[in-house]
């Protein structure tokens, strides 16, 4: 991929990739109320790594990711699966959403629930699966 590198691209990637990753987390977290969610968040994050692959190399992107994309996929699947288990303990069907409200100072209520965990699982699985394919193609 060395033919594609240019100083402009590299500089841009250096700024855009972290922003994309940050944006992907933003999309993931806002997904429950506004457009977004684990799926689109995951795709955005994958785009961030794709840019790194373009501007630098597969190795760089893999180093930044730190973990095998397939393992990431597996982590995501396991997390999504685990998020369905707490409801079994309370006698409800598998994957029933459970929520707790945490009151924070300033009259803010933080709602946390198992669907959020599930969405994080989707997010990780999507990143992992997309990057597995991307890296394999780019390494060819």
């Amino acid at each position: 991929m060395s033919t594609l590198t240019s100083i402009i691209l590299r500089t841009a990637v250096r700024w855009i990739s972290p922003l994309l990753l940050l944006f992907s987390v933003f999309l993931l977290l806002r997904g429950h109320h506004e457009p977004g969610g684990g799926f689109s968040g995951g795709l955005i994050a994958a785009t961030g790594f794709a840019l790194l692959t373009f501007g630098y190399s597969v190795r760089t992107a893999q180093r930044v990711l730190r973990i095998e994309p397939l393992s990431l996929t597996a982590c995501g699947l396991v997390l999504a699966l685990l998020s369905g288990l707490p409801s079994l303990l309370t006698g409800q069907p598998f994957l029933t959403g459970l929520w707790i409200d945490i009151s924070l100072p300033g009259n803010v209520v933080l709602e946390l629930g198992t669907p959020l965990l599930f969405d994080v699982g989707v997010y990780l699985a999507v990143i992992g699966a997309t990057l597995t394919m991307l890296f394999e193609f780019a390494e060819e």
Binding site: A50, M133, F137
Partner: protein, 775 residues
């Protein structure tokens, strides 16, 4: 009983750990567990012999009317004693036989699994439970026959035994289900309590035929007998335990168990007598012209199994002889296999013409062989002698010449097989024959089992109550009182019995002549790739032809459906969808909605977007360069996303944009590796594709219109929109559906995604590895 099964299965699970810690000494632990079970079952002898029963029930599938129900009556106890008793000796024997074999853990897992399942079969009072255990024994047998996995013949024999018994098992399953339908119960005790089933019912006749099929495959009856001699690829303890004493008797057991239900059927006696008689004869004819000690014993087992089925067919008259023969055969045939294994272990040989003069080479082993052979040949005072006299008594009373002839020939063959095991003791010593020291268990186990069989006749009277209890189970009646005696005086039976022993001995002496006949007919070796002699017309040949046919069919349909051309896959999918969905849409009465959505909702931007989509799809098709085609498709995708966004589906729009972006990225990576972008298809093919594409598009449009017109009485989307916040704490309905309402679907989808990634990784990794290999 439940606890016994549980302990055995737990032992099977911890076997790998146990073998790692104890090495071969794990066998002592397994033997100890079997021994404890044996003692427990033996302690129940008095009460069961009086006609009592023991039952245990564990709730399992209450909605299906099935439970883990166990029942111990006379018949079950007889088999349970054999399974645990011979199981104890086989476990001990394995310590010396397999020593510290590298795959010892696998052996113990399979063997203990088998023991659990076999006990399960004979104890089961529920037909589903019985079937599950029945199949488990086939699975365990598969792994044990294929234990020497490096030998192609072992693998093939394992597969053959499994396929044959599995086909029968499927038949059995259907048969048992029909039986349950007829009687309204899965519980054997309840079915048996209903007495003989009406013979006129087609359901009953079908059930009988299917159960018989299951039993015939499991118990190696003609024409399915061929798997048993091939199963001799298994280690000898397995041959002794599964393929002579217990598993092959499962079919016999099942017929005995169901005999009160079916024995009044007009087909029962003729079919069982014919099947059993034919098998007994075929086994007896094939057993003498064999070289390999284990194959020889296997054919004699086939013959004995046939005789057992024949006795069952005689109904009330044969029940007592049946019981005695089950017991006697398990003892002496198990011992015979163990002693054959000991000979092989000591000398490395197990064919008759490479062995000789063992009485001088290894006197201790030779005397063990002698004890076992005397028991197996049915000399007084062995259990076999008493069983043989009873069998002859039954058949002579019948005054049916064919049955008498069949029985005598079968007994001659089986006795000759026993005498043949004695041949290695005498004759000239082959040049390189030498024997090494044997582990004590290799001698102790056959001696113990052989001695039990040999003195069994003397203690026979003590077993009369058990025999009565077994007969009561087989006949479904109250306890008949039997007298068992070792000595009946000088009778016709005794004369015939002695005649059989002498004739068989003569056959064994004449073996060198018979083996030449066997060689000419190609009976002495397992079926070769190019069969000769009788192998050309045998049933095993049919099996091979059948399996080859299935493989060919599989290859052809794979080649037809999985042809590897993406264009054919897509054409298939599109045409199928076109036909199925199109037909449904055309039949919908609401094809043209009375009121189309108002045009005023559509503004100039939408029309512009639609125009761009149309133009870019045409451009993608007509492009002469790949980059242009990709760009056109990209434009198409982004315009679609914009349309989604404008019609109130921002989530869909985001995803569409991202997927499009990433697709372009992937395409760019693959760009340099793709072949030249040439126009390869003819004008006619392109015209055909255009028609197909246009038809598909028209169909989708009609489909969209039809769904518009079709009003559901209640729309689920309204429910989702209303309940998203109160139920799921979310204002984005799409996401709430994804992660809460339909989370299980999403879980399935990300699993598919992960599998796709795994597939791509595996395929590409394999390709790059192959390239490295060739470089």
């Amino acid at each position: 009983m439940l606890i016994g099964l549980l302990v055995l299965s737990v032992l099977a699970v911890i076997a790998p750990l146990g073998v790692r810690l104890l090495r071969r000494r794990f066998g002592y632990l397994a033997a100890l567990v079997s021994l404890v079970l044996l003692v427990w079952y033996a302690s129940l002898l008095p009460s069961i012999s009086r006609g009592d029963e023991r039952r245990e029930v564990l709730s399992w599938l209450p909605t299906l009317g099935s439970a883990v129900a166990l029942r111990l009556d006379g018949l079950a106890l007889l088999f349970a004693l054999l399974i645990t008793g011979i199981g104890t000796l086989v476990a001990l024997y394995t310590v010396g036989y397999l020593e510290d074999h590298p795959r010892l853990a696998r052996f113990w897992v399979s063997l203990l699994l088998f023991q659990t399942a076999m006990l399960g079969i004979v104890l089961a009072d529920d037909m589903i439970v019985l079937f599950v255990f029945w199949e488990l024994t086939s699975v365990a047998s598969f792994f044990l026959i294929g234990f020497a996995e490096e030998r192609a013949r072992a693998r093939m024999s394992a597969q053959q035994a499994f396929l044959v018994t599995a086909v029968g098992g499927l038949g059995l399953l259907v048969g048992l289900l029909l039986l349950a339908k007829q009687t309204g119960s899965f519980r054997l005790s309840e079915i048996l309590a209903q007495g003989p089933l009406p013979a006129g019912e087609i359901l009953v006749t079908s059930a009988f035929i299917l159960v018989l099929l299951g039993a015939a495959t499991k118990s190696a009856q003609v024409p399915f007998h061929f798997w048993l001699p091939n199963a001799m690829e298994a280690p000898t303890p397995v041959s002794a335990y599964l393929h002579s004493a217990t598993m092959v008797k499962a079919g016999v057991y099942l017929l005995a168990r169901l005999s009160p239900v079916f024995s009044a059927h007009p087909w029962w006696e003729p079919s069982l007598v014919a099947l059993g008689g034919l098998t007994a004869l075929a086994g007896a004819l094939l057993t003498v012209p064999q070289r390999d000690l284990k194959r020889l014993l296997a054919y004699s087992t086939v013959s004995a199994l046939g005789l057992l089925i024949l006795l069952l067919g005689l109904g009330e008259r044969g029940a007592k002889a049946f019981t005695l023969f089950v017991l006697a055969h398990a003892l002496y045939k198990g011992a015979a296999f163990l002693v054959a294994g000991a000979i092989e272990h000591a000398t490395g040989q197990r064919t008759l013409d490479t062995l000789g003069d063992l009485r001088r080479v290894t006197p201790l082993l030779a005397s063990t062989v002698a004890i076992v052979v005397l028991a197996a040949a049915g000399l007084p005072p062995s259990a076999g002698f008493v069983a043989k006299e009873t069998i002859l008594g039954v058949t002579l009373q019948q005054r049916l010449p064919p049955v008498v002839l069949l029985t005598s020939l079968a007994l001659i063959g089986q006795t000759a097989a026993a005498w043949l095991v004695l041949r290695p003791l005498f004759g000239r010593r082959p040049a390189h024959l030498h024997a090494h020291e044997l582990h004590w268990t290799l001698l102790a186990c056959p001696i113990l089992l052989g001695t039990t069989a040999l003195v069994g006749g003397i203690v026979a009277p003590a077993f009369a109550p058990l025999v009565s209890a077994v007969t009561a189970s087989v006949l479904g009646t109250t306890l008949p009182m039997y007298e068992l005696a070792f000595w009946h005086g000088v009778t016709v039976e005794l004369g015939v019995s002695m005649l059989i022993i002498v004739t068989a001995a003569a056959l064994a002496v004449a073996w060198p002549r018979l083996i030449r006949l066997g060689d000419r007919l190609a009976l002495t070796e397992p079926l070769a790739d190019r069969p000769r002699g009788l192998g050309r017309i045998g049933f095993e040949r049919l099996y091979h032809t059948g399996v080859a046919g299935i493989v060919r069919l599989g290859t052809q349909q794979t080649r037809l459906l999985q042809n590897g051309y993406l264009r054919i896959y897509i054409t298939t999918i599109v045409v199928t969808a076109l036909l199925l969905v199109g037909a449904t849409v055309l039949r919908t009465p609401y094809l043209w909605p009375s009121s189309l959505p108002s045009w005023s909702l559509v503004d100039v931007v939408d029309i512009l977007l639609v125009l761009i989509i149309l133009v870019s799809s045409l451009a993608a098709v007509r492009a002469t360069e790949r980059l242009a085609a990709i760009a056109a498709l990209g434009a198409l995708g982004f315009c679609l996303a914009l349309l989604y966004a404008r019609f109130g589906a921002p989530d869909l729009a985001i995803t569409q944009v991202l997927v499009d972006t990433l697709t372009v990225v992937l395409l760019v990576f693959a760009f340099y590796r793709l072949p030249r972008y040439a126009r390869l298809s003819s004008t006619r093919a392109r015209f055909r594709d255009a028609v197909l594409a246009a038809a598909f598009g028209a169909m989708m449009a009609a489909f969209a219109l039809a769904t518009q017109a079709f009003r559901y009485s209640e729309r689920i989307s309204a429910y989702f929109a209303e309940q998203a916040y109160p139920l799921a704490h979310g204002r984005n309905v799409v996401n709430v559906i994804l992660v809460d309402f339909r989370a299980l679907d999403t879980l399935g989808e990300i699993t598919v995604l992960a599998l796709a990634a795994l597939g791509v990784a595996a395929l590409l990794a394999r390709r790059s590895r192959r390239r490295e290999g060739s470089a």
